[in-house]
Symmetry: C2
Subunit: 134 residues, 2 copies
C-alpha cells in the first residue's frame, strides 16, 4: 500500500515513452488516435493514488470493517468480534482505512469509536457489488 513511495516510482510517464511519429509497429486501426487520448490520461501520481485507494478496498478484512460501520459507529473490540478477527488485525487495518480517509474516529473513554467518514464508501461498495451481481 506504500502510498509514500509514489514520488520514487521509476515508471516512465506515458507522455515520455511515446514517440511513434515514424509509424507504429502495430497495424491495428486504433493506433491513429493514440496521441489524442494520450492528453487525457491522468498523470502518474494521480493514478498511483487511485490504485492505492482501490487497494484499500481490496481486502476482505477491511471490507468487513466497512460493512460493520455502515449506518453504525463501533468501537474496535465490537468490530473485531462482529467480523471474527483479532483486535490487533482490526487495529492494523483501521490504520490503513484511516490513512485512506475512509473512516474517522473519536475517543470515548477507554474506547475509540470508528465510523465511516463519508458517502463515498457506500457508493464505492455499491458500485462494486452491482458489477459482481450483474
Amino acid at each position: 500500500m506504500n502510498s509514500q513511495e509514489h514520488k520514487d516510482a521509476t515508471l516512465t510517464l506515458p507522455n515520455e515513452s511515446i514517440s511513434h511519429d515514424d509509424g507504429c509497429k502495430c497495424g491495428c486501426a486504433s493506433h491513429v488516435e493514440a496521441d489524442g487520448l494520450l492528453e487525457c490520461l491522468p498523470d502518474e501520481e494521480l493514478l498511483y493514488d487511485l490504485a492505492d485507494l482501490f487497494k484499500v478496498f481490496g481486502d476482505t478484512t477491511r471490507i468487513k470493517i466497512l460493512y460493520a460501520l455502515m449506518g453504525q459507529e463501533r468501537c474496535v473490540a465490537d468490530i473485531a468480534e462482529l467480523i471474527g478477527a483479532t483486535q490487533s488485525a482490526v487495529s492494523h487495518q483501521l490504520r490503513t482505512l484511516k490513512q485512506a480517509r475512509l473512516v474517522k474516529f473519536q475517543r470515548d473513554g477507554k474506547n475509540v469509536i470508528y465510523s465511516l467518514s463519508d458517502d463515498h464508501v457506500h457508493t464505492m461498495l455499491a458500485q462494486g457489488m452491482s458489477h459482481i451481481c450483474e
Copy 2:
C-alpha cells in the same frame, strides 16, 4: 488475486463467531445494535468476490490499461506502448482484467483488440477519483 480459493478460505463467518448474548466485553453504546446489523452483512463469499474486484483496480498497470481503453479499443502492442509497459506485462494484466470481466476482446488478424466491457469501469474509476480529489 486467487479468486479460485474462495471456497477454501478458513475465515469464520461472522454469523458463527458472534455469541455475546451474555454481555459484550466492550462497554461502548453501539454494541446493542450489533445483532441487528449482523443480518445485513453480505455473506463471506460475496465479500471475497467484492474484495477481488477491487484488487483488480488496485494496480497502476491495470488502471493505466483501463484508462487507455476508455472510449478507444486498442491492440495489446498499442496499450503497451501507450502506458510504457512490456508486451508481456500487459498481456498478463489483460488476463486478470478479462477474468474480472472488465475488458472484452476480439481477434483482428494477428492482433487482439481489447475494449472495456461495460460502463461499470467508468463509474468505478470516476467514483475513486472523486474520493481522491475531494
